[in-house]
C-alpha cells in the first residue's frame, strides 16, 4: 500500500502520546508514557537516554515490532498517515518499504544460513516486486552506495564472514534499498570500533539523505548525538523529558537530568579530577513513582514535583517536562500551558 506523497513541510514521522503497557512477570507495567516527538523531512533526530529509559521500545513501536503481549495507545503517523489503527498485515508491510531499520549488532541481525545477497534481494523482491535479476542489480547498486564496491563480490558470502563494519553497511543497504521515508538506527554503532563507528555514522547520515530518508537515531552516546543529529530528544524512565536543537540542548540543557547527564560524561575539554554524578538510580518500571519520575534524584525538586509535569511544547521541535528547569522559568521561552504550580 502506497503512502501518498505529501507536501514537503509535513513531518515524516509524528508520534503523539504513545503509551505502551507491557505484561511482565510482575504485572502490567507502563513502559512508555505519553511519548510525543516528530521528525521532519531531511532531519536527523537523536533519541538519547540510559538503559531502561524506553528509547529502544519507542523505536520498536514506530517500526511496528512490539511483542504481541503489549497494549499500545496513542498515534504514530508516517507522512500524515496513522499507523496505529492498521491491521497487522498492513502494518507489517510498512517495514522495509516506508521505514527501514538498522540494529545494534550487524552480524547478529543477519540470518546466518542465508547469503548476504539473498537477504538484500528479498526486501526488493517482496516490496518492489523485482525479479531475481533486478533485485540482484539493485542490491549490487545499493552495496556500492554504502561503500562496498561490486569487486568485493559479497553477495554470495554469509554473514559470519563479514566484519562488524561490513555487516553494518549491508544492514544499511538492506534498510534503504526500497527508499523508505524514515530510517531508524537502534544503537547502530555501539558494537563497532571507534574508527569504524565514525565511518558508519557518516554513512548513515549521507546514505539517508541521498535516499531522501529522514533519520531517527537511538543511542546512549551524547557524542554521537552531537556529531550527526540536528535535534535531540532526551528520555528518562519511559518519558520524554526534553527535546530541542542539538547545539542548544548540549550547551544549555533545561532539564536537570539532561544537565546532570552532560556533566557525568568525561569531557575532553574540561580538566577535572571528578565527574559529576546523579545520586540514586532509575526507578524500576513496576515501582514508578507518582509525579515527576526524576524528582527523587533531582537537586531542584520540591513539593510541586509530586505532580508529574506535562510535556510542554516550547517551540516547534523543542519541548520540556519540568517544573523547575535549569536556569529558571523565564528563559523557557513561554510559560503558556504551565498552570504556575509552584509552592
Amino acid at each position: 500500500m502506497e503512502i501518498a506523497d505529501t507536501r514537503s513541510d509535513d513531518p515524516v514521522l509524528e508520534v503523539d502520546g504513545l503509551t505502551v503497557r507491557l505484561r511482565t512477570s510482575r504485572g502490567d507495567v507502563e513502559a512508555l508514557r505519553s511519548v510525543s516527538l516528530h521528525v521532519d523531512q531531511g532531519e536527523t533526530v537523536g533519541l538519547v537516554g540510559e538503559s531502561g529509559c524506553g528509547k529502544s521500545l519507542t523505536a520498536l513501536s514506530i517500526a511496528g515490532l512490539l511483542p504481541p503481549m503489549s497494549e499500545v495507545s496513542g498515534e504514530i503517523r508516517l507522512c500524515g498517515r496513522n499507523l496505529t489503527n492498521l491491521d497487522r498485515r498492513a502494518r507489517r508491510q510498512i517495514g522495509g518499504r516506508e521505514i527501514g531499520m538498522v540494529f545494534q549488532d550487524p552480524v547478529a541481525s543477519l540470518n546466518p544460513v542465508l547469503s548476504v545477497g539473498g537477504q538484500l534481494a528479498e526486501v526488493a523482491r517482496h516490496h518492489l516486486g523485482s525479479s531475481r535479476r533486478e533485485a540482484k542489480a539493485l542490491a549490487t547498486e545499493m552495496l556500492d552506495k554504502v561503500g562496498i564496491p561490486p569487486s568485493r563480490n559479497i553477495l554470495k558470502d554469509y554473514p559470519h564472514q563479514l566484519s562488524g563494519g561490513m555487516g553494518q553497511r549491508v544492514s544499511i543497504a538492506a534498510a534503504l534499498i526500497c527508499q523508505p521515508k524514515l530510517l531508524i538506527g537502534d544503537e547502530p554503532t555501539t558494537a563497532l570500533d571507534v574508527t569504524i563507528q565514525a565511518q558508519i555514522l557518516e554513512l548513515l547520515r549521507s546514505a539517508a539523505s541521498d535516499s531522501g530518508a529522514s533519520l531517527l537515531l537511538i543511542t546512549h552516546d551524547l557524542g554521537v548525538i552531537a556529531r550527526i543529529c540536528d535535534r535531540v530528544v532526551v528520555m528518562y524512565a519511559g518519558e520524554i523529558v526534553e527535546s530541542g536543537p542539538t547545539s542548544k540542548i548540549l550547551s544549555a540543557p533545561r532539564h536537570p537530568y539532561t544537565a546532570a547527564l552532560l556533566k557525568s560524561v568525561p569531557d575532553p575539554e574540561v580538566e577535572t579530577d571528578e565527574l559529576e554524578t546523579i545520586s540514586g538510580s532509575v526507578p524500576e518500571l513496576h515501582e514508578m513513582p507518582e509525579g515527576c519520575r526524576f524528582a527523587a534524584r533531582c537537586e531542584y525538586a520540591d513539593a510541586a514535583c509530586a505532580v508529574d509535569p506535562p510535556l510542554e511544547v516550547i517551540s516547534r521541535g523543542a519541548s520540556l517536562r519540568c517544573w523547575h528547569p535549569v536556569g529558571g522559568m523565564n528563559s523557557a521561552g513561554g510559560t503558556g500551558g504551565l498552570s504556575g504550580r509552584r509552592s
Binding site: G95, A108, P112, E122, A174
Partner: protein, 310 residues
C-alpha cells in the same frame, strides 16, 4: 573429513570389545545349550573344543577379528549356518520396521515440535509437551502390549503379530508393521518434538528474526525462511541419535510383536549363548549407527554455511 573417517575404527572397537568381554563373563555354556544339560561330559568337552570355547579369551578375540578381516562373521552355533546368512535373512524386517518408525518419529516429532513452538503457551502446545513427556517415560513394551490389546484384539484393525514380507503385498506388509512402528516411532517422536520446539523458540528470539520482520517480510515467510531453516539444522543431527535409539528399541518391539527381525534374533541368541551370532548382530548394528552418524555430520556441513566456510 579424513580424520573423521579414521576415527570410525576406534569408535567401533570400543563397543565390540566391551561386548566380547561381557559375553565371556556371562555364565552359561553354549555346548550345554545345544546338547542339553544331561549330555555326557566328554561329548560336551569335544563340542567345546570344536567350537573353540576352550581357548583363552585373547585367542578367541584374535580369531574373531582375524575372521572379520576376511569378512567372515563365523557360524551360528545354534543354526549351524554362517552368521552372515542368518543376519541377512532377518535384517530386512528390522530395516523395514526401523524405516517406518523413523518416518513416524520424524514427521510426528518434528511436526508436533513446530506446531508446539509456533503456538507456544496454547493448549495445543501444552498437550504436545505432556504427550512427549509420556512418550519419553513409557516403557516401549508396555506401550506395545497396550496397543495390541486395543487395536488388534479389541478393534481387530491390525494383526496381533507376525510379519508379512513386502513381496506379499505392500499394504498388507505395512499393516503388519503399523503397530510396532507406531510403538517405536511415537516414543522417540516425543523426544524429537521437545528438541525441535526448543530449537525453534531459540531462533525466534534471535535478532535476525526481528530484523527480518522489520524488513516488512510477512510472518509466514519469516517463519518458513528465517526461523525454520536455521532451527531445523540442529534437529537433523538429533535424528542420528534417534536412529540409534530406534535400533535398540527394536529389540523389545520385535519380541512383543513376534517379528522375525534382528532384535528378536538377538534376544534368543543371548538366551542360547550363541556367541558368534550375538557378536555378528552387535557388529552390524554398531556399524550402521556409526555410518548414519557420519552421514549426518556430512549433511550438517552441507546445509549449515557456518560450518562450511570456516
Amino acid at each position: 573429513m579424513v580424520r573423521r573417517t579414521l576415527l570410525l575404527l576406534p569408535t567401533l572397537l570400543v563397543p565390540l570389545l566391551l561386548m566380547f568381554t561381557l559375553l565371556q563373563l556371562t555364565p552359561g555354556d553354549p555346548a550345554a545349550m545345544m546338547l542339553g544339560d544331561f549330555a555326557p561330559p566328554e561329548q560336551l568337552e569335544r563340542l567345546r573344543e570344536q567350537l573353540g570355547l576352550n581357548d583363552s579369551m585373547g585367542v578367541q578375540l584374535v580369531n574373531w577379528v582375524g575372521d572379520l578381516a576376511r569378512l567372515d562373521l563365523g557360524t551360528s552355533i545354534f543354526a549351524q549356518e554362517p552368521v552372515w546368512d542368518v543376519i541377512k535373512s532377518q535384517a530386512g524386517v528390522t530395516i523395514h520396521l526401523t524405516s517406518l518408525s523413523l518416518a513416524i518419529t520424524v514427521f510426528v516429532g518434528v511436526g508436533a515440535g513446530v506446531v508446539s513452538a509456533l503456538y507456544r503457551g496454547s493448549p495445543l502446545d501444552q498437550g504436545v509437551m505432556l504427550g512427549s513427556m509420556f512418550g519419553v517415560s513409557l516403557p516401549q513394551f508396555w506401550f506395545g502390549l497396550n496397543l495390541i490389546a486395543i487395536f488388534s484384539v479389541g478393534l481387530r484393525w491390525f494383526p496381533v503379530g507376525g510379519y508379512v514380507p513386502l513381496g506379499d503385498g505392500f499394504w498388507l506388509s505395512n499393516r503388519s508393521l503399523a503397530l510396532p512402528a507406531i510403538t517405536l516411532g511415537l516414543v522417540q517422536a516425543g523426544f524429537l518434538a521437545r528438541i525441535t520446539r526448543s530449537s525453534i523458540l531459540d531462533v525466534m528470539g534471535e535478532p535476525y528474526v526481528t530484523a527480518a520482520r522489520a524488513k516488512g517480510i510477512p510472518e509466514y515467510i519469516v517463519v518458513w525462511k528465517h526461523v525454520l531453516r536455521p532451527a531445523l539444522i540442529p534437529v537433523i543431527t538429533v535424528i542420528g541419535i534417534a536412529l540409534a535409539l530406534l535400533l535398540s528399541g527394536a529389540v523389545a518391539v520385535e519380541v512383543v510383536f513376534t517379528l522375525p527381525g534382528l532384535g528378536r534374533s538377538m534376544v534368543s541368541a543371548v538366551a542360547r549363548r550363541d556367541f558368534p551370532l550375538i557378536q555378528g548382530i552387535v557388529l552390524v548394528v554398531a556399524v550402521t549407527n556409526v555410518l548414519v552418524n557420519l552421514l549426518v555430520d556430512l549433511l550438517y556441513a552441507v546445509i549449515d554455511p557456518r560450518v562450511r566456510y570456516q
